[in-house]
């Protein structure tokens, strides 16, 4: 696992050994990387321009102004969508951290008849695409009056097979001796899991949290289907309808897109190493 640390020590290049080829590779990689963030840069740039400056394709606006941001935010719905998305992503993430690790722990550390069957059953749900379930989910939500509600947006993702599998893999690396010692100390099984085992898999929990949060923050398909009133839109769905209504007012569309992007960018800049390591961890184990 140490090999996964993104900045794991590789022998530093000795300066005497730098060849022209390496400089060329470095330059090409940097230019490619700058090309990758060009859409993001232009999104911010255009969001700072006025309607008449949009046609000026310079990256640095002639007279940058935050007027568009004030306009979009005072729209009223935007703040609401932002809060909706935050609430939904956080709730679903907490639910996954709790239940996926509880099931993963049980499957990794308990012996009982039917364990393998339960594991296979949960794993098999990975094969079922969301798209196949949305029609039954929609009908179920209609019957139970879950349409157009936070619960309706959240319920399909409250537990995931991916998270369960990831956590099971990590709990298997926890030595049984630790758990046995806690058992002798008189802790019950719930306390052993919560107080002893959980802290030992903290890196996996953070990886799962990052994935679940990001997945729900950007989720589009199901929230688009299940919500109909504007107050309940998530940010991506709200943004889509907002942008559609703006017609060709690109500076407003860009401002909306920028507002949806800023939170994840800020979190990324603060937790960069953490996130990259989490993605590596989840990607390799999952």
């Amino acid at each position: 696992m140490t090999a996964l640390a993104p900045d794991a020590a590789r022998p530093p290049l000795k300066f005497g050994r730098i060849r022209p080829g390496q400089i060329l590779i470095w330059t090409v990689l940097l230019l490619g990387g700058l090309l990758m963030i060009t859409p993001i840069l232009y999104m911010f740039s255009t969001s700072l321009k006025t309607a008449s400056q949009v046609y000026d394709l310079r990256l640095i606006p002639a007279a940058p102004s935050f007027d568009n941001y004030v306009k979009v935010l005072s729209d009223g719905n935007f703040m609401r969508w932002f809060l909706n998305s935050s609430f939904i992503a956080i709730t679903v993430t907490l639910s996954n951290l709790f239940f996926d690790s509880m099931v993963g722990y049980t499957l990794a550390k308990f012996e009982f008849r039917g364990r393998y069957f339960i594991f296979l059953a949960i794993l098999s749900t990975l094969m079922i695409p969301t798209e196949m379930l949305v029609i039954p989910w929609y009908l179920m939500s209609a019957q139970l009056h879950w349409l157009d509600s936070y619960w309706g947006i959240m319920f399909p993702g409250m537990m995931t097979a991916f998270g369960t599998f990831l956590m099971k893999q990590f709990f298997e690396t926890v030595p049984d001796d630790f758990l046995e010692a806690a058992r002798i100390d008189g802790l019950n099984e719930f306390q052993i899991w919560w107080k002893v085992a959980m802290p030992l898999v903290a890196p996996a929990l953070s990886a799962l949290a990052i994935f679940t949060f990001l997945g729900n923050w950007t989720a589009f398909f199901w929230p688009l289907i299940v919500t109909t009133s504007r107050e309940l839109y998530t940010l991506p769905v709200g943004l889509s309808s907002f942008s559609d209504a703006q017609d060709t007012r690109w500076e407003m569309i860009m401002t909306g897109a920028a507002l949806a992007t800023i939170p994840t960018l800020v979190v990324f800049l603060v937790l960069q190493r953490f996130i990259v390591r989490g993605v590596m961890l989840a990607g390799l184990k999952g």
Partner: protein, 310 residues
């Protein structure tokens, strides 16, 4: 055990529990932990799966009760030219999108792995798009593809005197234009996973190969690529499934005529969405989801098969 329980009826409740052997207690704990999740998976995953199959055999518009029609929906699907167009579009996204994104991601990761100077910064540049919301950035890309005097690419082309391109308004260029957006959005994830895979290869392998006098190309072919196979297979399947299920970009980049122009960019998930939630032809839509499920299942089974034959 039952006997022990009845005998201790008079004792306080905790005593009954105390009489269970440790093993039995742990089994009870295990099922207690699993109780809620079993209900969840049964109710929210398994039951809807079977229901989707059932609905695909019915004619149902939600208002009238569902009517069993056997394989009629599938028969209609096979003879629906719109479906075959969607089928072709979906596989175009897959067959071009997945290989292109994987080759580019591998090349970036392979060279970035050797770069020490500003490594973290360059990696962040490639990774950033992965953290953006597809529905938001699809609109930015839509702007990029606009004709002069708005769009970025046509603006650049005009400066160099190159003819304007229609991009999203053209039946031949719209699909590749959307595909570029999808590749761009997923590239950073693939680069990071490839980097992790490359890191996991022990340095000693490379040192041994260099001592044996293998060149860069030979090391890549004989050591890096074979040892990277699990990572590559994972990413092939992950990105294939991603392209087969493409929706967010298409929906947002063609929202004035979803899947247009003339259905030339419409993937299967968009067709499902429109059939189910615009036409409310639930039976027909369910049949389409079963087809998507079958395709994804074949892709996943291929992965297992490739991994086994190692």
């Amino acid at each position: 055990m039952t006997q022990g329980a009845t005998l201790s009826d008079a004792a306080p409740k905790g005593r009954v529990w105390d009489r269970f052997p440790i093993r039995t207690k742990r089994v009870i704990w295990a099922w207690a932990f699993l109780a809620l999740p079993i209900i969840f998976y049964g109710w929210i995953r398994f039951y809807p799966t079977f229901q989707a199959f059932w609905i695909s055999f019915t004619d149902w518009d939600i208002l009238k009760p569902a009517q069993f029609v056997g394989l009629e929906n599938y028969d209609k699907l096979i003879h629906d030219p719109a479906f075959w167009k969607v089928f072709r579009n979906t596989f175009t996204y897959l067959i071009i999108g997945a290989p292109v994104s994987l080759v580019v991601a591998f090349a970036v990761a392979y060279y970035l792995d050797r770069v020490r100077f500003m490594h973290g910064f360059i990696r962040a540049l490639y990774f950033l798009p992965f953290l953006t919301t597809a529905a938001a950035l699809a609109w930015v890309w839509r702007w990029i593809y606009q004709p002069v005097p708005i769009g970025l690419i046509n603006g650049l082309l005009a400066q160099f005197g190159i003819p304007q391109q229609a991009f999203l308004k053209s039946t031949t260029q719209a699909l590749p234009a959307i595909m570029v957006t999808a590749i761009w959005a997923g590239l950073g994830f693939q680069v990071i996973i490839f980097l992790a895979g490359l890191r996991a290869i022990p340095q000693t392998f490379y040192e041994a190969a260099r001592i044996d006098g293998l060149g860069e190309g030979a090391i890549l072919r004989k050591i890096t690529l074979p040892l990277l196979k699990p990572t590559t297979v994972f990413l092939v399947v992950f990105s294939s499934i991603g392209f087969l299920r493409i929706f967010d970009q298409v929906y947002n980049m063609t929202s004035n005529d979803p899947g247009g122009p003339l259905g030339s960019t419409k993937p299967i998930v968009l067709m499902i969405y429109q059939t189910a939630f615009s036409s409310f032809d639930m039976g027909y839509a369910a049949a389409q989801t079963v087809v998507l499920f079958t395709i994804l299942l074949i892709v996943s089974l291929l992965q297992l098969w490739v991994l086994r034959s190692r």
